[in-house]
């Protein structure tokens, strides 16, 4: 069996892995390797052929593949080695030892000074919802349908109901409509959408697709292929209200009911995961509880904007380079806590005494209009941000200035206050 030694190893060549690799290379790490399971780098962006990517980072509207290509080209230009068709099977966190397999190179062992986890996320399937009914063909997670339509060129159905109002579902509502399918409804359990507002407008409203908030699918029918679903209104406890049922005659049910960071490798490595984000707990440079193991992108917490993914991942790449060179100290840390209205703030820790800007990212736990996000340290307010609206569908970011970070002397709390 081959065994290789590298300075920085990146797992996953989606936007997160690519950005992290580019940052590490910029810092002079030459013995750098990116492993990617698919045949092409680019990650989930390869199938996101709609535009709207890159507004923050490139100040232009790119499609997913275009956005990814910029990083792929840059990585090539810099001479970064990306080994595709290679799946990482396990990570030994303590020994920094990664086992991977490919048909070309067989099973390989790679020892790395720093490891960056950038495996992305997966979609929540039907089983996780416990929706009763038959188990027929015609039920897909929205991302699977997106792959069939955009990468393979096949339509999975003609009459579609979408359960969940996550972004992928919304994008697919428009995509399937443009391709000639009839999208009958988008059904959301919560009283608010979990997708970006711009996607509600551009993908549902513009095509007269009704959005049923506080509704869910209560029955799935069809022995071989789906023939229909029953939708019902839910009460405040999210229980179906008898008598409110609506029948839809459809051959396809798309599920867009949430994304879950893909952390099997991280768990196996001994990385501590947060029950709120389902991703690793990290400090301000994205280092996990295991020294020299970093996490970024959707494997850390589910993002809605790839620009944020790239930003976060540059940071992880720089830190991984510093660790590989023996320059990253791991001293005391200060905890970051969720206050009212806030869920799953990342990072969970900030290193004590550093004077660097820190982005605090989180999901609001509900919809707050005209509210303010306030960050405190002890009794002291250290940052605030006003917004027209905070909603769970859009990740919120609050910046802490370097001088503020340097002065932190106790736990930091992030909360949302209604005005």
């Amino acid at each position: 069996m081959n065994k290789r030694l590298v300075d920085v190893l990146v797992i996953g060549a989606g936007p997160a892995g690519l950005a992290a690799a580019i940052a590490a290379k910029e810092d002079g790490i030459d013995n750098l390797l990116v492993l990617e399971r698919e045949h092409n780098p680019g990650g989930i962006l390869r199938q996101c052929i709609h535009n709207g990517f890159g507004l923050h980072r490139f100040k232009e509207e790119l499609t997913g593949p275009e956005y990814a290509q910029r990083d792929i080209d840059k990585a090539k230009e810099m001479g970064i080695e990306i080994q595709t068709d290679t799946t990482v099977l396990s990570v030994d966190g303590e020994n920094h030892l990664v086992t991977c397999v490919s048909s070309k190179h067989g099973v390989e062992l790679i020892e790395a000074k720093s490891i960056i986890l950038a495996m992305g996320c997966r979609e929540r399937p039907r089983g996780a919802l416990g929706t009763p009914g038959t188990r027929c063909a015609g039920i897909y997670s929205a991302g699977t349908a997106q792959k069939f339509v955009n990468l393979e060129g096949y339509m999975p159905g003609k009459r579609v109901v979408i359960l969940g109002s996550g972004d992928i579902g919304l994008i697919m509502a428009r995509r399937m409509t443009l391709q000639g399918a009839k999208v009958l409804a988008c059904v959301e359990l919560m009283p608010f959408s979990s997708g970006l507002n711009r996607n509600i407008v551009q993908c549902l409203n513009d095509y007269d697709i009704p959005l049923y908030l506080s509704h869910t699918v209560v029955d799935i029918k069809g022995r071989e292929r789906l023939t229909g679903v029953t939708v019902a209104k839910v009460d405040a406890n999210r229980q179906p209200i008898p008598g409110s049922e609506i029948e839809f005659d459809c051959d396809t049910l798309l599920l867009s009911v949430g994304l879950i960071p893909e952390n099997e490798l991280s768990e196996g490595a001994g990385v501590k995961l947060s029950p709120l984000t389902s991703g690793a707990e990290v400090d301000d440079v994205l280092q996990t509880n295991i020294p020299g193991v970093f996490a970024c992108g959707n494997v850390l917490h589910v993002h809605d904007l790839v620009d944020h993914v790239s930003n976060e991942s540059f940071k992880a790449g720089h830190a991984a380079a510093a660790y590989a060179k023996g320059l990253l100290e791991r001293g005391e840390t200060i905890a970051v806590r969720d206050g009212d209205g806030v869920r799953g703030t990342v990072p969970q820790f900030i290193r004590k005494g550093v004077s660097e800007e820190v982005d605090l990212m989180f999901r609001p736990s509900g919809v707050f209009r005209g509210a303010t996000c306030i960050v405190t340290c002890g009794d002291k307010e250290i940052a605030r941000k006003k917004a027209m609206i905070f909603t769970p569908g859009e990740m919120a970011v609050v910046k802490l200035k370097p001088e503020i970070v340097a002065a932190l002397d106790g736990p930091v709390t992030v909360k949302i206050e209604r005005s």
């Binding site: 399971r37 799946t87 399937p125 009914g133 188990r135 063909a137 393979e152 060129g153 292929r225």
Partner: protein, 484 residues
């Protein structure tokens, strides 16, 4: 040579076929499903029952105990997963205690080794997550676990390498004795003629019996619904946890599966439609509520899927196995509900041998004695994996990330003697798509491999045969037509 037609490719039909394949005969197994094991044999608890539950003196009791004894060696021979973690049947009241004491007596009468009554303290030591209100339990050390569909596939494969033919997607609609003395079987695809008919049609077995015999049998279709949970770092129970049996069956269990998931269920509802394997809100709620009696922490969190299977309960209660009364050259297995999976190897030996003897079939000079299946990539250690990829590079292409299934294994599942032809067929043979993402990532690739192996187009790929097509149209074809 005699033509034998076996109706039903569940674990019973396949076990009978495998035993008959040792004899000189032309054997065909037909089933209305698109694959084998599409009936009760794919959707049950997967427990190899120790044998304390069945009433002494019944066929159920005898065949359960005999079958369970055959399991370890048979699984080894056919490469089917098997383990023997033992079981507890827990009770909460003095009334339950009386029931359990009776089960201990039954165990002795049925010749089940090692069963004894255990008290709360010992139960909580054995299984600390048991509801602490438990009073006492029956402990059955020989209770086992297997993968019911993998057992069925392996029996079928072994039968097939010894000459048995499998014809799927063909439903039996009528059976009559012709003037030629042969059986004329009307099916959805036409007529089949055979010398010897064997009815192993599960929920459909009474119908077929009643076509041949005026002393009718009646199958009550009794559905059982389940929760299947994701693998977890540590399962709450190492043994199968039963509750006290009732007249509807063995009650709701909480058990590990042989693959290390957790299973909760089944419910027991009599339903009017023998094919209705849907799940219902009420049925699932019942399972969860009942599970909490065993395991107070039970919750739907971590559910991978819900499913249901249908028990073929014969109104009189026992298995009906043997020659069809007042008919020549006809045999049957009717009412093969639980412990039918456990009993299957014994049913196969009993009925297969009876048919061979009564019909005067000659033993074949030579048969393939066993089929050895390769260890799944998922279970290999690093050295074994390296060797596998070195030998066949397709082991290096991972297709299902959740269950760690490779392209080599998927192609092998399609090329097996009775190979997969559908997405579900690949799933049950390899576990690709059985993990926490339920095929979201791998199903497009599995579909492509099915196309390559079977020479079909993506639009012909089905989930489970019939109209269960995955895709409805090709965007490129549509664009070509429109002249884009």
């Amino acid at each position: 040579m005699a033509d034998i037609l076996i109706i039903g490719a569940g674990v019973t039909g396949c076990a009978v076929a495998r035993v008959l394949s040792r004899y000189e005969a032309n054997i065909t197994v037909i089933d209305r499903g698109a694959d084998i094991a599409e009936g009760a044999s794919k959707a049950n608890s997967g427990i190899v029952h120790a044998g304390f539950d069945a009433k002494p003196g019944t066929l159920k009791a005898k065949l359960n105990v005999d079958g369970a004894k055959m399991y370890p060696a048979l699984c080894e021979e056919l490469g089917v997963p098997y383990s023997q973690p033992g079981a507890l049947v827990i009770g909460f009241t003095e009334e339950d205690r009386a029931t359990l004491e009776n089960l201990v007596r039954q165990a002795e009468l049925n010749d089940v080794p090692g069963c004894r009554l255990v008290e709360r303290e010992e139960i909580l030591k054995m299984e600390p997550n048991t509801n602490p209100e438990v009073l006492c339990a029956l402990y059955a050390p020989t209770s086992g676990l297997t993968s019911p569909y993998e057992m069925t596939f392996a029996l079928a494969d072994h039968a097939a390498v010894n000459g048995v033919k499998f014809e799927l997607g063909e439903e039996v609609q009528g059976v009559a004795k012709g003037s030629d003395g042969k059986w004329h079987v009307t099916t959805s695809k036409g007529e089949r003629v055979c010398d010897i008919l064997v009815n192993c049609a599960g929920v459909g077995s009474a119908n077929i019996h009643n076509m041949m015999n005026s002393e009718t049998l009646q199958i009550i279709d009794r559905r059982g619904q389940y929760y299947l949970m994701d693998r977890m770092a540590k399962l709450p129970f190492t043994m199968t946890m039963f509750q006290c049996p009732t007249k509807m069956g063995k009650g709701v269990l909480v058990s590990p599966t042989v693959h290390g998931n957790l299973l909760l269920g089944p419910s027991a509802e009599d339903i009017p439609d023998e094919l209705d394997t849907s799940t219902t809100a009420d049925g699932l709620k019942f399972v969860l509520d009942k599970s909490r009696l065993t395991w107070p922490q039970a919750s739907p969190r971590g559910t991978i899927t819900n499913f249901s299977g249908i028990r073929a309960h014969e109104a009189k209660g026992d298995f009906v196995i043997g020659a069809v009364k007042d008919q020549e050259n006809a045999y049957e297995t009717v009412g093969i509900e639980s412990p039918g999976l456990s009993a299957a190897p014994a049913i196969g030996e009993m009925l297969g041998t009876q048919i061979a003897e009564e019909m005067g079939l000659a033993k074949k000079a030579e048969i393939v004695p066993a089929i050895k299946r390769r260890k799944p990539f998922h279970e290999m250690n690093t050295e074994e994996r390296a060797a596998a990829v070195a030998e066949n590079p397709l082991y290096g292409n991972l297709v299902c990330r959740c269950e760690v299934v490779t392209e080599a294994e998927i192609r092998d599942a399609i090329r097996r003697p009775v190979g997969a032809t559908t997405i579900d067929g690949v799933k049950r043979r390899t576990r690709a798509g059985m993990g926490r993402c339920q095929g979201g990532f791998c199903s497009p690739r599995v579909a492509e491999i099915l196309c390559e192996e079977l020479g079909i187009s993506m639009l012909e790929v089905t989930k489970c045969g019939g109209e269960s097509k995955l895709l409805v149209s090709s965007i490129h074809d549509a664009m070509k037509k429109e002249g884009c």
